[in-house]
Protein backbone atom coordinates (compact mmCIF):
# COMPACT_ATOMS: atom_id res chain seq x y z
CA UNK A 1 0.00 0.00 0.00
CA UNK A 2 0.98 3.61 -0.37
CA UNK A 3 1.73 5.09 3.01
CA UNK A 4 1.68 8.69 4.18
CA UNK A 5 4.40 10.73 5.83
CA UNK A 6 6.01 8.76 8.58
CA UNK A 7 7.90 10.09 11.53
CA UNK A 8 11.54 8.99 11.55
CA UNK A 9 10.79 6.58 14.35
CA UNK A 10 7.82 4.99 12.55
CA UNK A 11 9.91 4.72 9.42
CA UNK A 12 12.66 3.02 11.37
CA UNK A 13 10.16 0.73 13.10
CA UNK A 14 8.98 -0.49 9.71
CA UNK A 15 12.56 -1.00 8.53
CA UNK A 16 13.48 -2.88 11.69
CA UNK A 17 10.39 -5.08 11.51
CA UNK A 18 11.14 -5.89 7.88
CA UNK A 19 14.70 -6.80 8.86
CA UNK A 20 13.58 -8.91 11.81
CA UNK A 21 10.79 -10.72 9.94
CA UNK A 22 11.91 -10.75 6.31
CA UNK A 23 9.15 -11.49 3.81
CA UNK A 24 6.53 -11.91 6.55
CA UNK A 25 5.39 -8.34 7.07
CA UNK A 26 2.68 -6.27 5.43
CA UNK A 27 1.55 -2.73 6.20
CA UNK A 28 -2.21 -3.12 5.86
CA UNK A 29 -3.30 0.46 6.33
CA UNK A 30 -2.47 3.81 7.83
CA UNK A 31 -4.98 5.94 9.67
CA UNK A 32 -5.22 8.44 12.49
CA UNK A 33 -4.19 5.80 15.02
CA UNK A 34 -1.01 4.72 13.26
CA UNK A 35 0.16 1.89 11.03
CA UNK A 36 -1.78 -1.37 10.98
CA UNK A 37 0.76 -4.15 10.55
CA UNK A 38 0.20 -7.84 9.72
CA UNK A 39 2.83 -10.46 10.44
CA UNK A 40 2.12 -13.84 8.94
CA UNK A 41 3.48 -17.35 9.59
CA UNK A 42 3.52 -16.87 13.36
CA UNK A 43 3.99 -20.16 15.20
CA UNK A 44 1.25 -20.97 17.72
CA UNK A 45 1.08 -23.42 20.64
CA UNK A 46 -1.18 -26.48 20.74
CA UNK A 47 -4.17 -24.76 22.28
CA UNK A 48 -4.85 -22.89 19.04
CA UNK A 49 -6.94 -24.32 16.21
CA UNK A 50 -3.95 -24.14 13.85
CA UNK A 51 -0.22 -24.12 14.53
CA UNK A 52 0.39 -21.08 12.41
CA UNK A 53 -1.51 -17.78 12.38
CA UNK A 54 -1.37 -14.09 11.62
CA UNK A 55 -0.41 -11.50 14.20
CA UNK A 56 -1.78 -8.00 13.70
CA UNK A 57 -0.94 -4.88 15.64
CA UNK A 58 -0.99 -1.10 15.41
CA UNK A 59 2.23 0.88 15.64
CA UNK A 60 0.81 4.13 17.08
CA UNK A 61 1.43 7.35 15.18
CA UNK A 62 3.27 8.66 18.23
CA UNK A 63 5.50 5.59 18.61
CA UNK A 64 7.85 5.19 20.46
CA UNK A 65 6.37 7.61 22.97
CA UNK A 66 3.35 5.29 22.93
CA UNK A 67 4.08 1.55 22.95
CA UNK A 68 2.61 -1.12 20.68
CA UNK A 69 -0.31 -2.71 22.49
CA UNK A 70 -2.24 -5.01 22.24
CA UNK A 71 -1.79 -7.64 19.51
CA UNK A 72 -4.41 -9.63 17.61
CA UNK A 73 -4.23 -13.20 16.34
CA UNK A 74 -6.53 -13.49 13.34
CA UNK A 75 -7.92 -16.50 11.51
CA UNK A 76 -7.60 -19.09 14.29
CA UNK A 77 -9.48 -19.78 17.49
CA UNK A 78 -8.54 -20.84 20.98
CA UNK A 79 -9.50 -24.23 22.31
CA UNK A 80 -9.63 -25.28 25.95
CA UNK A 81 -10.22 -22.99 28.89
CA UNK A 82 -9.72 -19.30 29.26
CA UNK A 83 -6.19 -17.96 29.28
CA UNK A 84 -5.27 -14.74 31.03
CA UNK A 85 -4.34 -12.03 28.53
CA UNK A 86 -6.29 -13.67 25.68
CA UNK A 87 -9.81 -12.52 24.78
CA UNK A 88 -11.85 -12.97 21.64
CA UNK A 89 -12.91 -9.58 20.28
CA UNK A 90 -14.15 -7.95 17.13
CA UNK A 91 -11.37 -5.73 15.88
CA UNK A 92 -11.65 -3.58 12.78
CA UNK A 93 -14.36 -5.84 11.41
CA UNK A 94 -12.47 -9.08 12.07
CA UNK A 95 -12.97 -11.67 14.77
CA UNK A 96 -9.64 -11.93 16.52
CA UNK A 97 -8.00 -13.06 19.71
CA UNK A 98 -6.67 -10.03 21.51
CA UNK A 99 -3.28 -10.67 23.11
CA UNK A 100 -2.98 -8.24 26.00
CA UNK A 101 0.75 -8.39 26.62
CA UNK A 102 2.05 -5.07 27.78
CA UNK A 103 5.52 -3.81 28.58
CA UNK A 104 4.57 -1.95 31.72
CA UNK A 105 7.85 -0.07 32.12
CA UNK A 106 8.00 1.10 28.50
CA UNK A 107 10.92 3.44 27.91
CA UNK A 108 10.72 5.29 24.56
CA UNK A 109 14.46 5.80 24.39
CA UNK A 110 15.23 2.11 24.92
CA UNK A 111 12.34 -0.18 23.98
CA UNK A 112 11.41 -1.06 20.41
CA UNK A 113 8.54 -2.59 18.55
CA UNK A 114 10.76 -5.41 17.32
CA UNK A 115 11.62 -6.43 20.87
CA UNK A 116 7.96 -6.42 21.85
CA UNK A 117 6.79 -8.37 18.81
CA UNK A 118 9.52 -10.96 19.37
CA UNK A 119 8.45 -11.36 23.00
CA UNK A 120 4.86 -11.76 21.89
CA UNK A 121 5.61 -14.32 19.17
CA UNK A 122 7.75 -16.24 21.63
CA UNK A 123 4.92 -16.22 24.18
CA UNK A 124 2.40 -17.36 21.57
CA UNK A 125 4.64 -20.27 20.58
CA UNK A 126 4.76 -21.43 24.20
CA UNK A 127 1.25 -20.60 25.37
Amino acid sequence: MRIGTLSPELSRAVDDLEDAFPGRLAIESQDATGLVVRLHSVALAERWSARVGELWFVVPYNYPDAPVYPYYVVGVVLSGGAVPALQTVVWRGMTAVQVSLRQTAWDPSRDTVVGCVMQTTSWLRRT
Partner: protein, 475 residues
Protein backbone atom coordinates in the same frame (compact mmCIF):
# COMPACT_ATOMS: atom_id res chain seq x y z
CA UNK B 1 10.39 39.56 11.78
CA UNK B 2 13.65 37.67 12.25
CA UNK B 3 14.58 36.31 15.64
CA UNK B 4 17.26 34.10 17.10
CA UNK B 5 16.15 32.05 20.10
CA UNK B 6 18.57 30.45 22.51
CA UNK B 7 18.10 28.58 25.79
CA UNK B 8 19.29 30.31 28.97
CA UNK B 9 22.01 27.77 29.76
CA UNK B 10 23.37 27.87 26.23
CA UNK B 11 23.40 31.65 26.22
CA UNK B 12 25.34 31.73 29.47
CA UNK B 13 27.94 29.44 27.93
CA UNK B 14 28.08 31.59 24.79
CA UNK B 15 28.21 34.87 26.72
CA UNK B 16 31.02 33.66 28.99
CA UNK B 17 33.05 32.74 25.92
CA UNK B 18 32.34 35.93 23.98
CA UNK B 19 33.07 38.27 26.89
CA UNK B 20 36.28 37.15 28.51
CA UNK B 21 38.59 38.99 30.87
CA UNK B 22 40.92 39.86 27.99
CA UNK B 23 38.15 42.15 26.62
CA UNK B 24 39.06 40.94 23.14
CA UNK B 25 36.61 39.88 20.45
CA UNK B 26 35.72 36.18 20.45
CA UNK B 27 33.62 34.11 18.12
CA UNK B 28 31.29 31.15 17.92
CA UNK B 29 29.24 29.30 15.36
CA UNK B 30 25.67 28.37 16.15
CA UNK B 31 23.67 25.63 14.46
CA UNK B 32 19.99 26.44 14.54
CA UNK B 33 16.61 25.16 13.50
CA UNK B 34 14.91 27.40 10.96
CA UNK B 35 11.21 28.12 11.18
CA UNK B 36 9.81 30.20 8.31
CA UNK B 37 7.33 32.56 9.91
CA UNK B 38 4.02 33.61 8.42
CA UNK B 39 5.29 37.19 8.13
CA UNK B 40 8.11 36.08 5.82
CA UNK B 41 10.80 36.20 8.48
CA UNK B 42 12.60 33.42 10.29
CA UNK B 43 12.84 32.15 13.82
CA UNK B 44 16.24 30.55 14.22
CA UNK B 45 16.40 28.22 17.23
CA UNK B 46 19.85 27.45 18.55
CA UNK B 47 20.49 23.73 18.85
CA UNK B 48 24.28 23.63 19.02
CA UNK B 49 26.80 26.21 20.24
CA UNK B 50 30.34 25.76 18.92
CA UNK B 51 32.78 28.05 20.70
CA UNK B 52 35.69 28.99 18.47
CA UNK B 53 39.28 28.80 19.63
CA UNK B 54 41.80 31.51 18.74
CA UNK B 55 42.90 29.27 15.85
CA UNK B 56 39.40 29.31 14.37
CA UNK B 57 38.89 33.05 15.03
CA UNK B 58 42.29 34.51 14.07
CA UNK B 59 43.26 38.11 13.24
CA UNK B 60 41.59 39.03 9.98
CA UNK B 61 42.79 40.06 6.58
CA UNK B 62 39.78 42.30 5.94
CA UNK B 63 38.78 43.11 9.51
CA UNK B 64 39.95 42.80 13.10
CA UNK B 65 39.22 39.07 13.26
CA UNK B 66 37.78 36.51 10.89
CA UNK B 67 36.23 33.07 10.96
CA UNK B 68 38.62 30.38 9.75
CA UNK B 69 37.74 28.64 6.53
CA UNK B 70 38.27 25.30 8.26
CA UNK B 71 35.68 26.05 10.95
CA UNK B 72 33.18 27.31 8.39
CA UNK B 73 33.66 24.24 6.22
CA UNK B 74 33.46 21.82 9.17
CA UNK B 75 30.34 23.32 10.68
CA UNK B 76 28.80 24.26 7.34
CA UNK B 77 28.88 20.60 6.37
CA UNK B 78 27.47 19.61 9.73
CA UNK B 79 24.65 22.13 9.29
CA UNK B 80 23.91 20.62 5.88
CA UNK B 81 23.86 17.06 7.29
CA UNK B 82 21.60 18.09 10.16
CA UNK B 83 19.29 20.35 8.12
CA UNK B 84 20.19 23.31 10.30
CA UNK B 85 21.06 26.93 9.64
CA UNK B 86 24.52 28.26 10.41
CA UNK B 87 24.72 31.47 12.42
CA UNK B 88 27.99 33.28 13.02
CA UNK B 89 28.40 35.04 16.35
CA UNK B 90 31.07 37.35 17.69
CA UNK B 91 31.41 39.93 20.42
CA UNK B 92 31.73 43.67 20.48
CA UNK B 93 33.20 44.08 23.96
CA UNK B 94 32.39 47.33 25.67
CA UNK B 95 29.34 48.09 23.57
CA UNK B 96 26.97 47.36 26.46
CA UNK B 97 23.29 47.90 25.75
CA UNK B 98 23.73 49.23 22.24
CA UNK B 99 25.54 47.60 19.37
CA UNK B 100 25.52 47.36 15.61
CA UNK B 101 27.15 45.53 12.76
CA UNK B 102 30.34 47.23 11.65
CA UNK B 103 31.29 47.84 8.03
CA UNK B 104 33.72 44.95 8.33
CA UNK B 105 30.91 42.71 9.67
CA UNK B 106 28.65 43.58 6.75
CA UNK B 107 31.46 43.03 4.24
CA UNK B 108 32.20 39.66 5.81
CA UNK B 109 28.55 38.67 5.43
CA UNK B 110 28.67 39.65 1.78
CA UNK B 111 31.77 37.54 1.22
CA UNK B 112 30.71 34.50 3.22
CA UNK B 113 26.94 34.16 3.38
CA UNK B 114 26.22 33.35 -0.28
CA UNK B 115 28.67 30.46 0.03
CA UNK B 116 27.20 29.34 3.36
CA UNK B 117 23.72 29.27 1.85
CA UNK B 118 25.15 27.12 -0.91
CA UNK B 119 27.09 24.76 1.37
CA UNK B 120 24.35 24.25 3.93
CA UNK B 121 21.41 24.21 1.57
CA UNK B 122 19.59 25.89 4.44
CA UNK B 123 16.58 28.17 4.22
CA UNK B 124 18.62 30.88 5.97
CA UNK B 125 21.98 31.82 7.45
CA UNK B 126 22.63 34.50 9.99
CA UNK B 127 25.28 36.62 11.62
CA UNK B 128 25.08 38.26 15.05
CA UNK B 129 27.30 40.72 16.86
CA UNK B 130 26.73 40.65 20.61
CA UNK B 131 27.23 43.52 23.01
CA UNK B 132 27.18 42.69 26.70
CA UNK B 133 23.42 43.41 26.79
CA UNK B 134 22.56 43.85 23.14
CA UNK B 135 22.70 42.13 19.78
CA UNK B 136 22.54 43.15 16.15
CA UNK B 137 22.61 40.96 13.11
CA UNK B 138 21.37 39.89 9.74
CA UNK B 139 19.50 36.95 8.29
CA UNK B 140 20.09 36.00 4.68
CA UNK B 141 17.82 33.67 2.77
CA UNK B 142 17.49 32.75 -0.91
CA UNK B 143 13.87 33.90 -0.98
CA UNK B 144 13.75 36.94 1.30
CA UNK B 145 17.26 38.23 0.62
CA UNK B 146 19.14 40.16 3.26
CA UNK B 147 17.17 41.29 6.30
CA UNK B 148 18.07 42.65 9.73
CA UNK B 149 17.82 40.39 12.75
CA UNK B 150 15.25 42.05 14.96
CA UNK B 151 16.09 40.37 18.25
CA UNK B 152 17.80 37.61 20.16
CA UNK B 153 15.51 35.95 22.67
CA UNK B 154 17.11 34.23 25.64
CA UNK B 155 14.68 31.66 26.97
CA UNK B 156 15.49 31.04 30.62
CA UNK B 157 13.63 31.64 33.88
CA UNK B 158 13.71 35.25 32.71
CA UNK B 159 12.99 35.75 29.03
CA UNK B 160 15.44 38.41 27.91
CA UNK B 161 15.18 40.16 24.56
CA UNK B 162 18.37 41.58 23.12
CA UNK B 163 18.14 44.17 20.37
CA UNK B 164 20.58 46.65 18.87
CA UNK B 165 19.28 49.14 21.43
CA UNK B 166 18.36 51.70 18.79
CA UNK B 167 14.59 51.19 18.79
CA UNK B 168 12.53 52.96 21.39
CA UNK B 169 9.74 51.15 23.17
CA UNK B 170 6.16 52.35 23.07
CA UNK B 171 5.33 52.72 26.75
CA UNK B 172 1.69 52.14 27.46
CA UNK B 173 -0.29 55.07 28.69
CA UNK B 174 -3.59 53.24 28.94
CA UNK B 175 -5.33 54.15 32.16
CA UNK B 176 -6.65 50.63 32.60
CA UNK B 177 -3.13 49.36 33.32
CA UNK B 178 -2.12 52.12 35.72
CA UNK B 179 -1.82 49.85 38.77
CA UNK B 180 0.07 47.15 36.86
CA UNK B 181 2.48 49.62 35.33
CA UNK B 182 3.56 50.49 38.86
CA UNK B 183 4.96 46.94 39.03
CA UNK B 184 5.87 46.13 35.44
CA UNK B 185 6.93 49.61 34.33
CA UNK B 186 5.66 51.16 31.14
CA UNK B 187 8.13 49.15 29.08
CA UNK B 188 7.00 45.95 30.79
CA UNK B 189 3.37 46.72 30.04
CA UNK B 190 4.26 47.46 26.43
CA UNK B 191 6.05 44.14 26.26
CA UNK B 192 2.95 42.38 27.55
CA UNK B 193 0.97 44.04 24.79
CA UNK B 194 3.36 42.62 22.20
CA UNK B 195 3.04 39.10 23.61
CA UNK B 196 1.31 36.31 21.75
CA UNK B 197 0.31 33.63 24.25
CA UNK B 198 -1.05 30.18 23.43
CA UNK B 199 -3.44 28.39 25.78
CA UNK B 200 -4.06 24.70 25.19
CA UNK B 201 -7.37 23.76 26.74
CA UNK B 202 -10.26 26.11 27.48
CA UNK B 203 -11.79 24.18 30.36
CA UNK B 204 -11.53 24.80 34.08
CA UNK B 205 -7.89 25.93 34.05
CA UNK B 206 -7.71 27.36 30.53
CA UNK B 207 -10.74 29.62 30.96
CA UNK B 208 -9.11 31.25 33.99
CA UNK B 209 -5.81 31.64 32.16
CA UNK B 210 -7.33 33.40 29.16
CA UNK B 211 -9.37 35.77 31.27
CA UNK B 212 -6.39 36.75 33.42
CA UNK B 213 -4.19 37.13 30.34
CA UNK B 214 -6.80 39.51 28.94
CA UNK B 215 -6.83 41.53 32.16
CA UNK B 216 -3.04 41.70 32.11
CA UNK B 217 -3.11 43.25 28.65
CA UNK B 218 -1.55 40.52 26.50
CA UNK B 219 -1.96 41.57 22.86
CA UNK B 220 -2.75 38.26 21.19
CA UNK B 221 -4.14 35.00 22.57
CA UNK B 222 -4.48 31.71 20.71
CA UNK B 223 -6.71 29.23 22.50
CA UNK B 224 -7.16 25.63 21.36
CA UNK B 225 -9.89 23.21 22.40
CA UNK B 226 -12.25 20.84 20.57
CA UNK B 227 -14.75 20.27 23.35
CA UNK B 228 -18.16 21.78 24.13
CA UNK B 229 -19.62 23.13 27.35
CA UNK B 230 -21.77 20.72 29.32
CA UNK B 231 -23.78 21.27 32.48
CA UNK B 232 -21.15 19.66 34.70
CA UNK B 233 -18.58 22.20 33.38
CA UNK B 234 -20.54 25.20 34.60
CA UNK B 235 -19.00 25.08 38.07
CA UNK B 236 -15.59 25.95 36.72
CA UNK B 237 -15.51 27.35 33.17
CA UNK B 238 -15.28 31.07 33.71
CA UNK B 239 -17.90 32.86 31.62
CA UNK B 240 -19.91 29.75 30.69
CA UNK B 241 -23.67 29.95 31.15
CA UNK B 242 -26.64 27.61 31.32
CA UNK B 243 -27.42 28.60 27.78
CA UNK B 244 -23.92 27.51 26.66
CA UNK B 245 -24.48 24.11 28.25
CA UNK B 246 -27.89 23.73 26.62
CA UNK B 247 -26.55 24.75 23.22
CA UNK B 248 -23.30 22.80 23.59
CA UNK B 249 -21.29 25.94 22.85
CA UNK B 250 -17.66 25.30 22.02
CA UNK B 251 -15.36 26.08 24.94
CA UNK B 252 -13.20 28.23 22.69
CA UNK B 253 -16.23 30.39 21.90
CA UNK B 254 -16.75 30.99 25.61
CA UNK B 255 -13.04 31.77 26.00
CA UNK B 256 -13.04 34.23 23.10
CA UNK B 257 -16.15 35.90 24.48
CA UNK B 258 -14.54 36.27 27.91
CA UNK B 259 -11.41 37.82 26.42
CA UNK B 260 -13.32 40.30 24.28
CA UNK B 261 -15.50 41.25 27.21
CA UNK B 262 -12.38 42.29 29.11
CA UNK B 263 -10.58 43.98 26.21
CA UNK B 264 -11.97 44.04 22.67
CA UNK B 265 -8.65 45.19 21.27
CA UNK B 266 -6.99 41.84 21.99
CA UNK B 267 -6.47 39.63 18.94
CA UNK B 268 -8.08 36.27 19.67
CA UNK B 269 -7.38 33.15 17.65
CA UNK B 270 -9.93 30.55 18.74
CA UNK B 271 -8.85 27.21 17.28
CA UNK B 272 -11.45 24.46 17.24
CA UNK B 273 -9.33 21.36 17.26
CA UNK B 274 -6.87 19.05 18.93
CA UNK B 275 -3.22 19.87 19.47
CA UNK B 276 -2.48 16.28 18.40
CA UNK B 277 -3.26 17.38 14.84
CA UNK B 278 -0.37 19.08 13.10
CA UNK B 279 -2.59 21.86 11.73
CA UNK B 280 -3.55 22.88 15.28
CA UNK B 281 -0.05 22.51 16.66
CA UNK B 282 1.17 24.75 13.84
CA UNK B 283 -0.98 27.58 15.19
CA UNK B 284 1.21 27.71 18.30
CA UNK B 285 4.63 27.92 16.72
CA UNK B 286 4.85 31.70 16.71
CA UNK B 287 3.66 32.15 20.27
CA UNK B 288 5.89 33.76 22.88
CA UNK B 289 4.65 31.52 25.67
CA UNK B 290 2.39 28.48 25.96
CA UNK B 291 0.16 27.33 28.78
CA UNK B 292 -1.01 23.73 28.91
CA UNK B 293 -4.28 23.27 30.75
CA UNK B 294 -5.52 19.85 29.66
CA UNK B 295 -5.13 16.49 31.32
CA UNK B 296 -4.32 14.23 28.37
CA UNK B 297 -0.96 12.58 27.89
CA UNK B 298 -1.16 13.39 24.18
CA UNK B 299 -1.42 17.12 24.82
CA UNK B 300 1.49 16.93 27.26
CA UNK B 301 3.58 15.08 24.69
CA UNK B 302 2.91 17.53 21.86
CA UNK B 303 3.17 20.69 23.97
CA UNK B 304 6.42 19.51 25.53
CA UNK B 305 7.70 18.67 22.04
CA UNK B 306 6.84 22.17 20.79
CA UNK B 307 8.61 23.73 23.77
CA UNK B 308 11.83 21.79 23.22
CA UNK B 309 11.77 21.77 19.41
CA UNK B 310 10.89 25.45 18.91
CA UNK B 311 12.34 26.81 22.20
CA UNK B 312 9.02 28.28 23.29
CA UNK B 313 8.57 28.45 27.06
CA UNK B 314 5.66 26.37 28.32
CA UNK B 315 3.90 26.18 31.65
CA UNK B 316 1.79 23.14 32.44
CA UNK B 317 -0.84 23.55 35.12
CA UNK B 318 -2.95 21.02 36.95
CA UNK B 319 -5.02 20.42 40.03
CA UNK B 320 -5.41 16.93 41.43
CA UNK B 321 -7.29 15.17 44.19
CA UNK B 322 -5.78 11.75 44.95
CA UNK B 323 -8.12 9.33 46.63
CA UNK B 324 -7.56 5.89 48.12
CA UNK B 325 -9.65 2.88 47.05
CA UNK B 326 -11.74 3.43 50.17
CA UNK B 327 -12.67 6.86 48.81
CA UNK B 328 -10.67 8.66 51.48
CA UNK B 329 -8.83 11.73 50.20
CA UNK B 330 -5.10 11.15 50.23
CA UNK B 331 -3.80 14.38 48.81
CA UNK B 332 -5.03 17.60 47.23
CA UNK B 333 -2.52 19.60 45.26
CA UNK B 334 -2.02 22.06 42.46
CA UNK B 335 0.86 21.84 40.04
CA UNK B 336 2.79 24.50 38.12
CA UNK B 337 5.46 23.07 35.86
CA UNK B 338 7.55 25.46 33.76
CA UNK B 339 9.22 23.87 30.74
CA UNK B 340 12.23 25.70 29.33
CA UNK B 341 14.87 24.63 26.81
CA UNK B 342 16.64 21.65 28.40
CA UNK B 343 14.98 22.38 31.70
CA UNK B 344 11.81 20.98 33.24
CA UNK B 345 11.10 18.69 30.27
CA UNK B 346 7.87 16.78 30.97
CA UNK B 347 9.32 13.60 29.40
CA UNK B 348 12.43 13.75 31.60
CA UNK B 349 10.14 14.31 34.59
CA UNK B 350 8.26 11.10 33.78
CA UNK B 351 5.03 13.05 33.37
CA UNK B 352 4.04 11.59 29.99
CA UNK B 353 2.56 8.15 30.59
CA UNK B 354 3.24 5.85 27.59
CA UNK B 355 0.31 3.57 28.42
CA UNK B 356 -2.07 6.52 28.59
CA UNK B 357 -0.69 7.75 25.27
CA UNK B 358 -1.41 4.37 23.74
CA UNK B 359 -4.98 4.36 25.05
CA UNK B 360 -5.56 7.87 23.75
CA UNK B 361 -4.26 6.95 20.29
CA UNK B 362 -6.56 3.91 20.02
CA UNK B 363 -10.06 3.83 18.52
CA UNK B 364 -13.05 3.80 20.91
CA UNK B 365 -13.61 0.13 20.01
CA UNK B 366 -10.01 -0.70 20.83
CA UNK B 367 -10.20 1.18 24.11
CA UNK B 368 -13.30 -0.78 25.05
CA UNK B 369 -11.66 -4.09 24.12
CA UNK B 370 -8.56 -3.19 26.09
CA UNK B 371 -10.62 -2.58 29.18
CA UNK B 372 -11.39 -6.31 29.38
CA UNK B 373 -11.56 -6.21 33.18
CA UNK B 374 -14.47 -3.81 32.89
CA UNK B 375 -12.87 -1.18 35.10
CA UNK B 376 -15.21 1.80 35.25
CA UNK B 377 -13.90 5.18 34.10
CA UNK B 378 -12.82 7.28 37.03
CA UNK B 379 -14.10 10.84 36.98
CA UNK B 380 -11.64 13.00 38.87
CA UNK B 381 -12.85 15.79 41.14
CA UNK B 382 -12.38 19.28 39.72
CA UNK B 383 -12.88 22.50 41.65
CA UNK B 384 -12.57 26.04 40.34
CA UNK B 385 -10.57 27.34 43.30
CA UNK B 386 -7.91 24.68 42.76
CA UNK B 387 -7.79 25.49 39.05
CA UNK B 388 -7.51 29.18 39.87
CA UNK B 389 -4.63 28.58 42.26
CA UNK B 390 -2.71 26.67 39.57
CA UNK B 391 -3.54 29.18 36.84
CA UNK B 392 -2.57 32.21 38.92
CA UNK B 393 0.61 30.50 40.07
CA UNK B 394 1.56 29.78 36.47
CA UNK B 395 0.78 33.33 35.37
CA UNK B 396 2.94 34.73 38.16
CA UNK B 397 5.86 32.60 36.98
CA UNK B 398 5.27 33.86 33.44
CA UNK B 399 5.02 37.49 34.54
CA UNK B 400 8.12 37.41 36.71
CA UNK B 401 10.06 35.93 33.80
CA UNK B 402 8.71 38.54 31.44
CA UNK B 403 9.72 41.51 33.58
CA UNK B 404 13.07 40.04 34.58
CA UNK B 405 12.16 39.37 38.19
CA UNK B 406 12.28 35.56 38.21
CA UNK B 407 14.65 33.86 40.59
CA UNK B 408 16.28 30.78 39.08
CA UNK B 409 14.28 28.53 41.43
CA UNK B 410 11.03 29.86 40.01
CA UNK B 411 11.57 27.66 36.96
CA UNK B 412 11.40 24.48 39.08
CA UNK B 413 8.31 22.30 38.99
CA UNK B 414 6.18 23.12 42.01
CA UNK B 415 3.39 21.26 43.77
CA UNK B 416 1.38 23.11 46.37
CA UNK B 417 -0.36 20.91 48.90
CA UNK B 418 -3.67 22.60 49.46
CA UNK B 419 -4.52 21.13 52.86
CA UNK B 420 -1.03 21.57 54.29
CA UNK B 421 -0.31 24.94 52.70
CA UNK B 422 3.20 23.83 51.76
CA UNK B 423 5.04 23.70 48.44
CA UNK B 424 7.35 21.07 47.04
CA UNK B 425 9.78 22.22 44.37
CA UNK B 426 11.56 19.81 42.04
CA UNK B 427 14.47 20.53 39.71
CA UNK B 428 13.94 17.98 36.96
CA UNK B 429 17.20 16.28 35.96
CA UNK B 430 17.65 16.47 32.19
CA UNK B 431 18.24 13.08 30.60
CA UNK B 432 20.90 13.16 27.92
CA UNK B 433 19.06 10.45 25.95
CA UNK B 434 15.72 12.30 26.03
CA UNK B 435 14.09 12.37 22.61
CA UNK B 436 13.02 15.98 23.10
CA UNK B 437 15.64 17.86 25.10
CA UNK B 438 18.56 15.41 24.91
CA UNK B 439 21.99 16.20 23.57
CA UNK B 440 22.24 13.22 21.20
CA UNK B 441 22.15 13.46 17.41
CA UNK B 442 18.55 12.35 17.04
CA UNK B 443 16.97 14.51 19.71
CA UNK B 444 14.44 17.05 18.44
CA UNK B 445 15.86 19.85 20.54
CA UNK B 446 15.92 23.14 18.64
CA UNK B 447 15.19 21.60 15.25
CA UNK B 448 12.11 23.79 14.73
CA UNK B 449 10.39 21.47 12.26
CA UNK B 450 6.66 20.89 12.40
CA UNK B 451 7.12 17.45 10.81
CA UNK B 452 9.15 16.35 13.83
CA UNK B 453 6.31 16.92 16.30
CA UNK B 454 4.51 13.78 17.50
CA UNK B 455 1.27 14.70 15.76
CA UNK B 456 -1.26 12.57 13.91
CA UNK B 457 -0.34 11.89 10.30
CA UNK B 458 -1.57 14.22 7.62
CA UNK B 459 -4.34 12.73 5.52
CA UNK B 460 -2.67 13.29 2.16
CA UNK B 461 -0.44 10.33 1.28
CA UNK B 462 3.13 11.36 0.79
CA UNK B 463 6.44 9.54 0.69
CA UNK B 464 8.65 8.33 3.48
CA UNK B 465 11.26 10.98 4.01
CA UNK B 466 14.74 9.83 3.04
CA UNK B 467 16.43 12.50 5.15
CA UNK B 468 14.94 11.01 8.30
CA UNK B 469 16.33 7.66 7.29
CA UNK B 470 19.76 9.22 6.84
CA UNK B 471 19.55 10.89 10.25
CA UNK B 472 18.66 7.58 11.77
CA UNK B 473 21.61 5.89 10.13
CA UNK B 474 19.60 3.98 7.52
CA UNK B 475 20.73 4.75 4.00
Amino acid sequence: MNELRIGGEQYRELHDHLFQLDRDEHGALLLAGQHARADGGFTLTVREVHLLSAKDFPPGVHGYRQLSAAALARLGNRAADQNLALVTAHSHPGSGARTGLSGDDLSAHERIFPHLLDITGAKAVGGVAFGEHSAAGEVWSPNAGRKPLDSVRIVGPNVEILTDGAATTDPSTEQRFDRQVRLFGAAGQARLRRQHVGVIGAGGGGSILVEQLAHLGVGQITVIDYDVVRTHNLSRIIGATDRDARRRTKKIVVAARAIRRVDPSITVNAVDGDIADAACAARLLECDHLFLATDTATARLVANAIAQTFLIPLTQIGAKVDTRLSGEIEQIYTAVRPVLPRRGCLACAGLIDPQQLQRESATPEERQNQNYLGTPDVIDPSVTTLNAAAASGALNVYLMGLIGQADDNLADHRLTLTREGTSLATRVPTKSDCRWCGTHELSRFGRAELALLPCRPATAPVRRDSRFRRLLGRQ
